[in-house]
Each structure stands twice: as structure tokens, then as C-alpha cells.
């Protein structure tokens, strides 16, 4: 009669919850976002999602087959990674990008580190950053309905007012999965299902908010704060990326610290950083600290905590976290205040140096009342005939004895390929262009960035014309013709328009 029945250690019953269910929950939570993405970004978005998910699953399948491991694709975590990656891509990317990204995310970030549960960073986000670094230009062409446009946050950075509704619905320019409403809905679903906990999303969004209020420069102005919080992938990161249990701390206190850390980084990157992809890098950086946080912050079991009556209202972790936040905040603002004057001086010096570069004859620069008045009169752009060019400032160059030797005009042109360019044009007193210099240019390396090379920008030097013309074919002979940088006619055109706007601007005040 012995060994009649199965023997094992208790508990003899298990919950119905499996890894598969956990992953399916994430897929369900992302469904509204994906549907709205396809709705607003078209069939191409669907292709990106399908390809990304399929190649993620295929990669894991093949890896397991080749390395003779137990097949793990049935846990559906590869599908989640594929979907997450697709939702963080622009819809117009070439179709090999989602495939490459998924292969990288699954193979390098997940499988090679030991598979599910062992990756150090979030695979989807790492896949995205891999694509960002490798294919920057394709990854930053954002569009909606097939029309490319600057993202809400890029527009916000230029001081424009943003409509909230498109951000909420997801039909603003951006990645496929950008509907704030759908992401919130999915996040709430996951919270209710226990797939994620409130700690990370709350602490992360709150910290980002606080940081932007203090350092964003607009205070509590909702016109600035709301797009910042709802757009730029913050919700996607807060509910789906940072909360990835594998790479975030596993304890409650650790998660709060993690959220605050990620929030601080996002705020810092958004306010001070140059990259539009603040969130991606902030989460990846925070992920690296996950194990350290788990190592340092271990919750005290209930029996070892100080009894309630002695500690009263505020629990200890909250106090510690508040102190950490305060210290970090004070340190940051302290550094800012201390360096503020220096920054201003440096800025002024740098500014003068930039002006000197294009107008070396000048010993100093002054302002001109007429020019200043015209500067203030501009609308959103200087004049529609010069595209998106807008005069930012104009300085009058004078020699040692105070005679006018020329003008230095700073022009911003939003028409460029990536978030606008800024250049300074030095114009001599007789209307001859002395030279131009870029103060801001974020174009594609090897293409638009070539505008900053002498071969292109020296074409303007020492030419006296009323207006330059862009020659896309190249091989120009006439003075007023500018050869376009091959493959970067948009950027080249934006530069020509900006220079022309500067010439037009000063023509009125020249003798």
C-alpha cells in the first residue's frame, strides 16, 4: 500500500496565476494603445507591430533551438517585448528596423543574459535605444497620418503652445504608441490586476513633475507641465517600461527610490539634455541601479519595525525618502545657483565669440533700435517667403572707434530635418556676407550635418547678393547659387532661407 499517493512538500494548492497570464495581462493592457496607434498611423503601424512581435518570438524560438534550451516562447514574454518595442517606434520607419530592434532586444539583451528574469535592462527599451543610436535619422522622423511634423515636446521646447487632445488620443506627431489616454487605461488595468504596483509610476511621475516645476522654467503652468507629463513617452515608461519587474527593484521601498531616481533623470534630461529621447535613456540608466537598490534597501519585517505608537503618523521610509529627495533637490538647485552667473557669463562670452567669428572686423557689438523694433514685430516666422526662418537677434558690429562695420544676425529656422537649426550670419556694412556659423544643428550625421562643413557654408563667404538660390543639382557657377549638400536638400534649403531672411532683415537699415 505504500507509495500509493503523491508526496510533496506543502502548499499543495497553487494559484491559477502563471507567467503566461502575467504576460497576457500586459498584452491586454497595451491593446488600446496599439489599436489607436494603428488607427492614427495607418497600416504601416500595423506592419511595424506585427513584424516586431513576430521577429521577437522567432528570435527566442531559434535561440532556444540552437542552444538546445527548453522552449520558452510560450510564456509570451517575447510577444510583450516585441509589442513594447513596436509601440515606441515611429510608424514611418523602414520595416527592417522593428525586426533588427526585436532581434537585438531578445537575442542580446534577454537571451544572452540568461533569458526571462535575467536581463539587466528592459529589452524593449534597450532595443529602441540600439535603433536610436544606429539609425538616428529614421528613428526621429515622427509623423501622424503620413505627414511628418515635429513632436509636441519639440514644439514645446520652441515655446509653442500645445494642444492636449491630440496627445491624449495619440494623433499628435510621435511614436505608434503615444495615446496618453490609452496608456493610462492600460496602466490602470495592470494596477488592478496586480501586474504592476503603484510605487514606480507614482514616484516617477511625481518626481518628474516636481523637477519640471522647479527647473522647467514655467513653474506650475499646466500648458507646459501637462504636455510634458502626458507626452514624450513618460506614461509608457512609467506604466510599462520602468515597472518591468525583471529590471526594477523588487521591494516596495526600493521601487519608490527607483521611481524617484528615474523621475529625476527624466526631468534632468528634458530640461538640460539635447536628446529628444530623455525617457528611454533615463529608464535604462535607472535599470542599471536596480540590483544595487535591491541590495541596499531591504524591507524590515513587521516584527522588527518600531511599534506604531512610537513613530506616529509618518513612517520611517517616507521620511528617509523625503530627506533624500530634499537633499538631491537642494544639491541640484545649489549647483544651478552657484553656476548660474558663470553660465550667464559663459553664454555672453560664447555669444560674442560666435558673432566675432562671422564678423571679425568688429571690435564690439551694440544694438540698433530700428532692428530691435523689427525683431519684435515678427510673428511666428520672419516672413513666409523665407519659410520657417525667424530672426532671433541682431547685433551691430562696430570697430574700435565706434564706426559700423557690419551686422551679425542670428536666425532660427524650424524647417530643418530635426527640431530646427540656428545660425549666425555676418554681413558687412555694404551688404556682403562675410561668413555664417551654426550655433544649433541636430541633423543626420553624414548628411544634414555636412552643412556645417566649409565645402557648403563657405559658399556664402564674401558674396554680395540680395538673395541666394539653392542649386540642388550642384556644380553652380553663379555667385548667388549655393550647391546643396547631396542628400540633404531640406537642411541646405533651410540654411539658404535663413541667410536670405538675415539679408532681407538688415537690407532696410543699411545705407
Amino acid at each position: 500500500m505504500d507509495n500509493l499517493y503523491n508526496i510533496s512538500s506543502c502548499p499543495h494548492v497553487r494559484s491559477k496565476l502563471t507567467t503566461q497570464v502575467v504576460m497576457t495581462d500586459v498584452l491586454i493592457a497595451l491593446l488600446p494603445t496599439a489599436i489607436l496607434g494603428v488607427l492614427f498611423h495607418g497600416f504601416q503601424a500595423f506592419l511595424v507591430i506585427a513584424l516586431s512581435m513576430a521577429s521577437a518570438v522567432a528570435t527566442e524560438y531559434l535561440f532556444n533551438v540552437v542552444t538546445k534550451r527548453k522552449q520558452t516562447i510560450y510564456d509570451r514574454s517575447a510577444m510583450v517585448t516585441g509589442l513594447l518595442l513596436a509601440l515606441t517606434l515611429p510608424a514611418q520607419v523602414p520595416l527592417y528596423l522593428p525586426v533588427l530592434g526585436s532581434v537585438f532586444a531578445i537575442l542580446v539583451v534577454k537571451c544572452l543574459f540568461g533569458g526571462l528574469g535575467h536581463n539587466i535592462m528592459n529589452p524593449a527599451l534597450t532595443g529602441r535605444s540600439f535603433l536610436l543610436i544606429s539609425f538616428g535619422s529614421m528613428m526621429t522622423v515622427y509623423s501622424v497620418d503620413g505627414v511628418s511634423a515635429a513632436t509636441p515636446l519639440a514644439l514645446l521646447a520652441q515655446g509653442q503652445t500645445i494642444e492636449l487632445l491630440p496627445i491624449l488620443l495619440g494623433n499628435a506627431s510621435g511614436v505608434i504608441g503615444s495615446s496618453a489616454l490609452a496608456l493610462l487605461l492600460g496602466g490602470i488595468y495592470l494596477l488592478l490586476r496586480g501586474g504592476i504596483t503603484w510605487e514606480i509610476p507614482t514616484s516617477m511621475i511625481a518626481t518628474t513633475w516636481l523637477f519640471l516645476v522647479i527647473f522647467g522654467g514655467y513653474g506650475f503652468d499646466p500648458a507646459y507641465i501637462l504636455p510634458q507629463l502626458l507626452g514624450g513617452g513618460l506614461l509608457m515608461a512609467a506604466f510599462f517600461m520602468a515597472t518591468d519587474p525583471v529590471s526594477c527593484p523588487s521591494t516596495r521601498d526600493g521601487q519608490i527610490v527607483f521611481g524617484i531616481f528615474a523621475g529625476l533623470l527624466i526631468g534632468l534630461f528634458r530640461v538640460k539634455g539635447a536628446s529628444a529621447d530623455s525617457t528611454t535613456y533615463a529608464i535604462l540608466l535607472a535599470d542599471l541601479f536596480g540590483p544595487i537598490i535591491d541590495d541596499l534597501i531591504i524591507p524590515t519585517p513587521f516584527g522588527y519595525r518600531i511599534p506604531k505608537e512610537r513613530k506616529k503618523a509618518i513612517p520611517k521610509p517616507v521620511i528617509i525618502l523625503l530627506v533624500i529627495t530634499l537633499i538631491a533637490g537642494l544639491a541640484l538647485s545649489g549647483v544651478y545657483v552657484m553656476t548660474k552667473d558663470t553660465i550667464e557669463e559663459n553664454k555672453a562670452a560664447a555669444n560674442k565669440a560666435a558673432l566675432m567669428q562671422v564678423l571679425p572686423e568688429a571690435a564690439d557689438f551694440t544694438t540698433d533700435a530700428t532692428l530691435q523694433a523689427r525683431l519684435d514685430d515678427q510673428g511666428d516666422s520672419y516672413n513666409p517667403s523665407f519659410g520657417g526662418a525667424k530672426i532671433q537677434s541682431a547685433a551691430v558690429g562696430v570697430d574700435a572707434s565706434g564706426n559700423v562695420v557690419g551686422y551679425a544676425v542670428t536666425v532660427f529656422n524650424s524647417d530643418s530635418y530635426d527640431s530646427g537649426l540656428t545660425l549666425v550670419v555676418g554681413i558687412r556694412a555694404d551688404g556682403t556676407v562675410n561668413s555664417i556659423s551654426f550655433t544649433e544643428l541636430h541633423e543626420t550625421a553624414g548628411m544634414g550635418m555636412k552643412c556645417d562643413e566649409p565645402a557648403f557654408k563657405d559658399q556664402f563667404n564674401n558674396v554680395k547678393v540680395d538673395k541666394f538660390i539653392l542649386n540642388k543639382a550642384g556644380g553652380s557657377t553663379a555667385d548667388n547659387e549655393i550647391d546643396s549638400v547631396s542628400g540633404a536638400s531640406v537642411t541646405s534649403g533651410a540654411v539658404v532661407n535663413a541667410v536670405n531672411a538675415a539679408l532681407d532683415f538688415v537690407s532696410g537699415v543699411m545705407g
Partner: protein, 442 residues
């Protein structure tokens, strides 16, 4: 009344409906009864009878082997068939006394005779409980007289009668409270005599409204005794969870309930105290649930200690389907038995027969740890099973013991129950604890 609860825990499917309404049916055993000499924590009892002796129901057959030990009586009248090692429910072998039932149930002298309780001194009260061989009937089997002998009785604030019955399937305490509520309150009053400053509280999960109502009714007119309904959640019936719910205090490693001003006893034990004090009746019967989807007619029984599990299954009409697993106790903390021959001991409260072995399924579904943290949220002690698991696998025992408080684990299995990756956490923690303890002894 406000329903209280503790932090963490899980809520497995209750399955109590299978046997909930079945009254405690007295079961008269046939054939032999087996009394293990080690059916309590502490030293085994020493047999005082030999083969061929005639014994009466309630007669002492094995004497406590020390203070932390308990007397054992025969629950039937009959002839001692053997004094030999037998297997108990957990599969271990120990000395046992086998009595052939003569079917007469002749009581020993003095047993079941109502006595005057008003003038009992505390010592006499404790002596009666000790003589009756009462042990914790909720599962642990710790001798009750030891538990009631605390250094500073005046520092005890609560005597907790544990009627939570948080294990799935088990319903015998529910029935006991419904039908013996006045007796439980009286037993509690006897216990309160030992603790001048204590209040008696009966803790019952809110999935037993009939028991709550019955106990509340029985408490009327007893100033020192009240009922505390608690949320239905496992492991509510654990000693620590009860103390936390009632006193808001948490025990740590090495602390006893008395350190938190509590004495905790199962309602079954309280009822046994009532019988012992008022009727001089030693512990020879108890409530018992036979349940599970394999059993034809699940039900509750009032069984003689020493009855074999097989007899109880027969009393239920046998198996409807061949079970895969039979558990002594419930599915959360009970242990799997290889067969049904083992006798029922004082601390056994249920037999659960399952047609599906969920552990087998879980083992086939095990995936890598997602670090989702559900285990930490489920831990009623506030431990971090996920981190403990990593430390245990790495054999980083220093971190396991000192940083993660791993030895505090009470083995309730909440982490293991809720783990979506189906990882055998509790088993790992048990072996790790054993390994650390072994290293300390060296």
C-alpha cells in the same frame, strides 16, 4: 463589529462548501486503534500498559515523559494488542500502543463525571488540564498545560481562542463552534481564571457567519469574552497573524505569544479544556473533517483518537475517484501521506483527498523568477521571499539570515501559492533554514 485583518496573505479557493453543513457525526471505530506515543511536541510518552492488558476508555495508557510532554489515554475499551513501532501520518515510525476495540466503550472510573469547578485553585485547574493530556489541536500539538504556565500570568492581555480555520476544505472547527459555543465560552472562562488581567477573544473568519452568530450569542453575559470576526484570508489562523490582528503587535524570531501578552489556543483545545475541567474527561475524541474532490460524501466527524484514516474514508462512502494525493490537514500546511493506515492523532484535524496534484502541474509549469514581487506582498511577516530565494540559491547564508531575516519564515507557503512562475520557494526556505541550523550546531 469591525472585521480586522493582517498585512499580506493569500486567499485560496475555500472549498468549505463540501463539508460545511455536515454536523460532527460520532464515528465508532471497528477493529484496532493506534495511539502514537509521540503525538505531541516534546518527549514521547512512556507506555504504562503491556500486551494483553485490558483497558477502559479514558484510561491512561502512556504517561507523559516529562513536563513538556502529554499523557495518552485509550479512547475505547478493549485489549492491548501490541506495543510496537507504527507509522504515523507523516510517514515516520514511532512507538505506539495498539488497542483492540471491544465495542463496549466502557468508561474508566471518574471519567465523564461532572465535578465542582467553582472552588478549583489555579494549580488544580492546570493539573486537570495536564492530566487530561490536552495538546494544541489546531495542528502543532504543543502541550497545553505548558502553554498556560507562563512566567507572569498578570501580563497576559488576551487569551485567544482560534476559530479562524483559514485552511481550505477544513470545517470541523466551524461545526464545533456552531454546536458547542456555550461550552467553548465556558472553557475560555476557565482559562481566564489563570490570567487575571486578560480578556478572552474568539477569532473567527467572516466566511463562517453561523459560527460567529452562535459564538456571539454564547458570549452574551460574559464580560471578559468577546468574538472578533476577521477577514477570510490565509494564514489568519497562524499564531502570529492572530496576535497581530488582536494586539497590532508583531512577533519576531524567538518570541513567544506570551511576550506579546497573548495565549493562543485552538477552539478545539478550548473545548477539550472544558471537558477536562468540568467532566474530568481526558482528551480522547476530536472534531475531524474528511473532504476533497476525491471523497464521495465529504463530512465532519467526532472521532476517537487512534482511529485509522482508512476508516474515515470508508465512513464517507469511500472514494468517488481515485485520489492522487491524500493530505493530513489542509492543502496549505498539511502533509502528503503515502497511505491511509496511519492513525488519527490528537493534533490531526482533517484528511483532504485530491484528485489533482497541483504541485505536479506547477512543477511542469515552472519558469524563471520574474521578480514581480507578489511573494513579498503576500508574506504575512513582511519578508522578501524574492531576495531570500536569490540568497538561498547562492548559498549566501549570512545575507539570508541577517539581512533578509530568512529564519523568521513561518513556512505558511503564501509566497509559493501566489508565485506565477510556480517556483518552490517554501521548500527552498525550509531546506535553507535546516542547513543554516545544522551549520550553527557544528
Amino acid at each position: 463589529m469591525e472585521i480586522k485583518t493582517f498585512h499580506g496573505g493569500v486567499h485560496p479557493a475555500e472549498h468549505k462548501e463540501l463539508s460545511k453543513e455536515s454536523p460532527l457525526t460520532p464515528l465508532l471505530p471497528k477493529g484496532e486503534l493506534v495511539y502514537m506515543t509521540n503525538q505531541h511536541i516534546g518527549k514521547p510518552a512512556s507506555p504504562v500498559v503491556k500486551k494483553g492488558d485490558h483497558v477502559l476508555a479514558g484510561q491512561l495508557i502512556a504517561e507523559a515523559g516529562g513536563f513538556v510532554s502529554a499523557n495518552i489515554v485509550s479512547s475505547v475499551s478493549g485489549t492491548v494488542k501490541a506495543v510496537e513501532p507504527r507509522k504515523n501520518a507523516s510517514g515516520g515510525s514511532a512507538m505506539a500502543i495498539v488497542v483492540e476495540n471491544d465495542g463496549e466503550y466502557t468508561l474508566a472510573e471518574g471519567v465523564g463525571v461532572e465535578s465542582d469547578t467553582a472552588n478549583l485553585s489555579n494549580q488544580e485547574l492546570l493539573a486537570k488540564i495536564q492530566k487530561a493530556g490536552i495538546v494544541g489541536m489546531g495542528g502543532a500539538g504543543f502541550p497545553t498545560h505548558v502553554k498556560l504556565t507562563v512566567k507572569a500570568p498578570e501580563k497576559i492581555d488576551y487569551v485567544i481562542a482560534n476559530g479562524a480555520e483559514c485552511e481550505p476544505y477544513i470545517t470541523c472547527d466551524d461545526q464545533l463552534m456552531r454546536t458547542r459555543s456555550a461550552e467553548i465560552v465556558e472553557g475560555l472562562e476557565y482559562m481566564l481564571r489563570l490570567f487575571p488581567n486578560a480578556r478572552g477573544v474568539v477569532v473567527i473568519e467572516n466566511n463562517k457567519p453561523e459560527a460567529i452568530a452562535a459564538m456571539e450569542k454564547a458570549c452574551q453575559g460574559h464580560d471578559r469574552v468577546y468574538v472578533q470576526p476577521v477577514l477570510t484570508k490565509y494564514p489568519q489562523g497562524g499564531e502570529r497573524s492572530l496576535i497581530t490582528v488582536i494586539t497590532q503587535k508583531h512577533l519576531k524570531l524567538g518570541m513567544l505569544p506570551a511576550d506579546a501578552g497573548c495565549v493562543v489556543d485552538n477552539v478545539g483545545t478550548v473545548y477539550a479544556i472544558y471537558r477536562a475541567v468540568k467532566f474530568n474527561e481526558p482528551l480522547m475524541e476530536r472534531g475531524f473533517t474528511v473532504s476533497g474532490d476525491a471523497v464521495r460524501n465529504p463530512g465532519n466527524f467526532w472521532v476517537k483518537i487512534g482511529t485509522s484514516h482508512q476508516e474515515l474514508v470508508d465512513a464517507c462512502g469511500g472514494f468517488e475517484q481515485e485520489p492522487k494525493k491524500v493530505l493530513s490537514g489542509g492543502p496549505m500546511m498539511g502533509f502528503a501521506m503515502t497511505g491511509l493506515e496511519a492513525p488519527i492523532c490528537k493534533n490531526n484535524n482533517a484528511l483532504t483527498c485530491l484528485t489533482v496534484d497541483e504541485v505536479e502541474i506547477a512543477e511542469s509549469e515552472m519558469t524563471a523568477c520574474l521578480r514581480c514581487g507578489r511573494c513579498s506582498r503576500a508574506c504575512p511577516l513582511g519578508l522578501s521571499p524574492q531576495l531570500m530565494q536569490v540568497a538561498a540559491i547562492r548559498k549566501d547564508y549570512d545575507r539570508y539570515e541577517h539581512k533578509l531575516y530568512g529564519l523568521d519564515c513561518i513556512g505558511c507557503g503564501c509566497c509559493t501559492y501566489g508565485c506565477p512562475a510556480k517556483r518552490p520557494l517554501m521548500q527552498l526556505f525550509k531546506t535553507t533554514k535546516a542547513e543554516i541550523m545544522a551549520m550553527k550546531k557544528r
